[in-house]
């Protein structure tokens, strides 16, 4: 934040500003936090209104699958971090490999999520369904929160996969290298953010039952 004159001059003249790029990314992540914040606010209010029903309905979610997905996603954060360390050390191929691994873990996460959603939808449980609407208000709201929160999170995972794929392409074309890796680092920041959101979603949805 307290840039010396020399770094400011570099930013002025070359249009490449490492600190500026990171700052922009952090600001974007602030907006993401507030975006999800709206959902967490709804969760807090409705959980306090329907604490008993949230407790019983949460038990209907499969904690084991949730836990496996948590491990998968946290591991993907690890491979993402490895890919950045690799690029800083000049190992571009290794970095691309770790990025690919990150994508694979992300896909595994989404596939598990897909089966989880399908099972619920197979039982007739989805927003606006008759089976759901015949249940108590707290259950309806809990499942609505479940689908909307994990759904929006899933879209973020999907976006992350696309972005990391672009990063792999740039790494192999040497556009991301040990000299200029801020785009990969920012991608990493985004990816860790997506994981952190899940780290909150998992206990709030799966573990309170």
């Amino acid at each position: 934040m307290n840039a010396t004159n020399t770094t400011t001059d570099t930013a002025h003249e070359t249009h490449v500003d490492y600190i500026g790029s990171k700052m922009g990314m952090w600001l974007f992540l602030f907006t993401e936090i507030l975006f999800f914040g709206g959902l967490f606010l709804l969760y807090a209010v409705y959980r306090s209104s329907f604490s008993q029903e949230f407790y019983t309905t949460s038990a209907q979610l499969d904690m084991t699958i949730g836990a496996i997905n948590t491990i998968v996603l946290i591991t993907s954060s690890l491979t993402m971090a490895f890919s950045i360390t690799a690029i800083k050390n000049g190992a571009a191929r290794l970095s691309a490999l770790y990025q690919l691994l990150t994508i694979i873990f992300a896909l595994v996460f989404l596939i598990i999520k897909y089966y989880e959603w399908s099972a619920k939808i197979g039982h007739g449980i989805y927003p606006g369904s008759d089976a759901l609407l015949s249940q108590g208000q707290g259950t309806i709201i809990f499942y609505s929160l479940y689908f909307v929160m994990t759904g929006i999170h899933g879209i973020h995972v999907l976006a992350g996969i696309v972005i990391i794929a672009v990063m792999i392409n740039m790494t192999t074309k040497n556009k991301i290298s040990e000299k200029d890796f801020v785009r990969l680092e920012n991608t990493g920041l985004y990816w860790h953010f997506v994981d952190v959101v899940w780290v909150y979603l998992f206990p709030l949805l799966y573990l309170i039952g």
Partner: protein
């Protein structure tokens, strides 16, 4: 140095593209600023048209030119267009884009491509908003606030309008993110925080509000769309939801948003008044502090929109108290502007006249805001014309007139041309009078109990409404005089000199219009922004 090239400044700079593409694909902050200025003025005029039609309907009791349903669409579209497409992006995206880098001594913003992307988001969203006019189901009729349960039940194209608000939010966020990074990273050497001009300071506070509040609107309207498409039930009492939660989420964004609207306006006024008083600004630090204070405290007052819709007494009192507190920094600014003029050598050029109109109108708007902030009076005037009058005094009398002040102040710099100052004075006076004739009767009507958002009213309210409608014609006349005068200046005006107003900030140290890179060499700043050598 006055070659043909430099006389046309950045307009003649050659880039990758030609013709219209040299504009809509340009990453030059000045071109994007002008793109935004044109788009925003176009949407302002569309919004004005809806406003004038509404006033025409209200000229007499009963159905005059339209039926209730059409009137509902009028006020909804008037609100959506004016709020999301004129007044929120209005000053930051046009003058902010054009002048922020120049005022802090930079060649461009930190992320020029994101800047262009933000304009594209704006245009896409604006197209979607206008598309609601021709969509099956008809134009939205739920008001710009989209309150459920009606916004969920109505079959009009509310979802599309909400989606437009969602998209234009990205444009707003990108602008904010860009400006914060630009201000942190690209200030010229020697431009310490407290040597920064006040317009960039205002943009800085505004940008934080844009970044931290807009995402809440995004999730709110997204949930509304999900509610309408899938029936998720967050705002539906039958499914355990609560419509009040929508109001909370909506105002958590939309109240800070009124500071997105007014802070940049205050920034322009803080630039204009010292220049035309030929003095340094009075209490520079107090203005900076109050700017930041408004940005911070403005977050915590959203509940005052909900005094009558269901809230505990404790919450009402707390929100009321904080609302009174947020008025203090605005008051500080008004005192600063007046003190700047005190014993100054005032030059009554058009930007100054518009600024004085701003101070007067904004003061009325601000003080009547306190009447709304107090819980007991609020219950009496809630959802009446009093609120409409208050809001228009702050937003049109405030931000609108500041926008015009900025337009007349920076016109010579942006376009390198001059306009007729006599006609500009005339337009300001006609608008100022028309404004009062249009909106002041609304205070009285509202106090007497006339509700907002109805196409009809009891005969007792006829006189006030008639006067108000006549005022709308006067105001539009003034507006047309202003637009024609500026267009004449643009095409037939004489070339502007680089510093026509004797300004002290950096934009007046470079040619009009500015060259493509703004500065040949990045300036080194050694003193505050409003220091005059003879002082």
């Amino acid at each position: 140095m006055i070659t043909r090239e430099s006389r046309r400044g950045f307009y003649s700079a050659s880039g990758k593209y030609r013709g219209i593409f040299s504009w809509i694909f340009s990453t030059d902050h000045k071109r994007i600023g002008i793109l935004y200025l044109i788009s925003i003025l176009a949407f302002f005029l569309i919004g004005v048209t809806f406003g004038v039609l509404m006033r025409l309907e209200l000229i007499a009791p009963g159905s005059t030119i339209v039926e209730a349903q059409t009137y509902n669409s009028f006020f909804t579209l008037h609100g959506i267009i004016m709020i999301f497409f004129f007044i929120i992006p209005g000053i930051p995206a046009s003058f902010g884009n054009f002048f922020l880098p120049i005022l802090i001594g930079a060649r461009d913003v930190a992320f020029p491509r994101l800047n262009l992307l933000s304009w594209w988001f704006y245009i896409i969203a604006a197209t979607l908003a206008l598309a609601t006019l021709i969509m099956p189901g008809g134009p939205p009729d739920a008001g710009w606030t989209f309150y459920p349960p009606y916004s969920i039940k109505t079959t009009t194209s509310v979802s599309l309008a909400a989606f437009a608000a969602f998209i234009v939010g990205f444009s707003s966020i990108l602008t904010g993110l860009n400006f914060i990074t630009t201000i942190h990273r690209l200030r010229a050497p020697g431009m310490k925080w407290l040597r920064m001009p006040l317009f960039p300071w205002a943009l800085y506070a505004t940008s934080w509000v844009q970044v931290l509040a807009t995402p809440v609107l995004a999730i709110t309207v997204l949930l509304l769309i999900l509610e309408r498409s899938f029936g998720v039930g967050f705002f539906d009492p039958q499914k355990g939801g609560d419509p009040l939660m929508f109001q909370h989420l909506f105002w958590i964004y939309s109240h800070p948003a009124v500071y997105i609207m007014i802070l940049p306006a205050m920034g322009i006024i803080s630039e204009v008044i010292p220049v035309f008083s030929r003095k340094s600004v009075f209490g520079y630090k107090a203005i900076v502090f109050s700017t930041v204070a408004i940005g911070v405290v403005g977050y915590l007052v959203w509940g005052h929109h909900m005094f009558t819709t269901g809230m505990s007494e404790e919450a009402q009192l707390i929100f009321s108290l904080i609302t009174f507190i947020v008025a203090v920094p605005s008051g500080i600014k008004v005192f600063n502007w007046v003190s700047t003029m005190y014993r100054g050598s005032i030059v009554m050029a058009p930007p100054m006249l518009f600024s004085l109109a701003f101070v007067f109108l904004f003061s009325i708007g601000g003080l009547t805001g306190l009447a709304n902030a107090s819980v007991a009076t609020n219950v009496h005037i809630h959802d009446t014309f009093f609120i409409v009058a208050h809001f228009h005094y702050v937003m049109f009398g405030g931000t609108g007139f500041a926008f015009f002040a900025g337009l007349h102040y920076w016109f010579p710099k942006m376009f390198g041309k001059t306009y007729s100052q006599r006609v500009a004075h005339l337009s300001c006076i006609v608008m100022f009078l028309g404004f009062h004739i249009l909106y002041f009767p609304m205070f009285i009507l509202g106090w007497q109990g006339m509700p907002r958002r109805f196409y009809d009213y009891i005969p007792a309210f006829h006189t006030g409404n008639l006067i108000s409608t006549i005022g709308s014609w006067v105001l539009v006349t003034g507006l047309l005089i202003m637009v024609i005068n500026l267009l004449r200046g643009l095409f037939k005006g004489e070339a502007a000199v680089s510093n026509p107003w004797d300004g002290t900030t950096l934009e007046w140290q470079i040619p009009s219009p500015p060259p493509k890179e703004n500065f040949e060499t990045i300036p080194t700043v050694t003193h505050g922004p409003y220091t005059r050598s003879q002082e």
